[in-house]
Symmetry: C2
Subunit: 206 residues, 2 copies
């Protein structure tokens, strides 16, 4: 596990491996080859082997990868072997929908705080979480040790929310608002914009 810079493409594939490995584990499969994985995930087997080899020698020649062991390793790499606390701002339709993934995320990640700027929303309960006003953000996030923030507010407010997250010392942001946000270089931002996704799909229609 050298301090080599791992490309973003590699990091993005790890959760996909993990997802399928979990499925295999549930089906009591004990071993899997890069060939099998590639077939199932529409990826080149050599790429999968190379991705994993960046982090260590996890497989056995002639056999493949032990599923339990590989799951454990990928979880370590992704830092999912600890509990990671997540906060969400924007208790609209999308925000509510995401809160319901808490069950799916299980141990690793959990939305532990929910904020909304509209006073009317304050106090509402969504999936066991009480909607809090924005001015509680700093204290609540510090207390709960939140490290990742999710933005599900309208585009016009996304930058403000990002600023507030940054002021609270957030380390990474997942932004669902359809706008590019500016943050300091040490804060990682990923985008999850449904509308651009749909629009790029349209290109491929005949």
């Amino acid at each position: 596990m050298k301090t080599q810079k791992i490309s973003e493409a590699v990091v993005r594939r790890l959760p996909i491996y993990l997802r399928y490995l979990n499925e295999l584990q549930m089906n009591n499969v004990s071993t899997v080859s890069s060939q099998d994985l590639g077939q199932k995930l529409d990826l080149n087997p050599a790429q999968i082997r190379k991705d994993l080899a960046y982090f260590g020698e996890f497989g056995k020649k002639g056999i493949g990868y032990d599923i339990n062991y590989l799951i454990e390793k990928i979880r370590q790499i992704l830092k999912l072997d600890r509990h990671i606390q997540v906060a969400l701002v924007g208790a609209g339709n999308l925000g509510r929908a995401l809160c319901n993934y808490n069950t799916y995320l299980r141990n690793d990640m959990k939305i532990v705080a929910l904020f909304d700027a509209m006073p009317a929303k304050t106090g509402e309960v969504i999936n066991n979480l009480v909607v809090l006003p924005m001015d509680k953000m700093k204290s609540v996030m510090t207390e709960l040790g939140v490290r990742i923030g999710i933005i599900t507010v309208p585009a016009a407010e996304a930058q403000n929310v990002a600023n507030e997250f940054v002021a609270c010392g957030i380390e990474a942001i997942l932004n669902f608002a359809p706008v590019i946000i500016k943050v300091p270089p040490d804060v990682r931002v990923h985008y999850a914009d449904f509308t651009t996704e749909l629009q790029s799909l349209a290109y491929y229609l005949d």
Copy 2:
């Protein structure tokens, strides 16, 4: 506009350009340079010029790009100059949330049909759309001319829904379920999985 194969990366950036151009248009800005765009969108100006040049000469040397004209052109390229009908399967929390984007999508794309396998959901009304049972899919989709399908069902059912979409002659699918689906090569699939997105973010925590 030669029949050169355009890379996926380019196609994915076009909606992002479009989004910001629309914002500029609303603010009555008339012209923009690749420099300005690059700064705002965190992209290299040369890349933006190159992306656009794949499709034609849209700019003016010494001036930049006329915003109205460029919007029109990008909309043509993405085939957003027509109405594109979209169907959604899975009227859960996420599905409902997405239905509310109809207003945002405005002219170009519209969710026009909503299906769910659970009989209990049938007949429910979400954002002016009635939830229909799966056995109505073929006839409704043919009648409405649906070309793109969205999947927001649990992972275990996603492949079945994809199969049904394919049987209805769907051309492209946006899959929110956390699983890789198999479709014929002429059907385009994009993924929008919130959980893998969050998990890859975790990697970048210190």
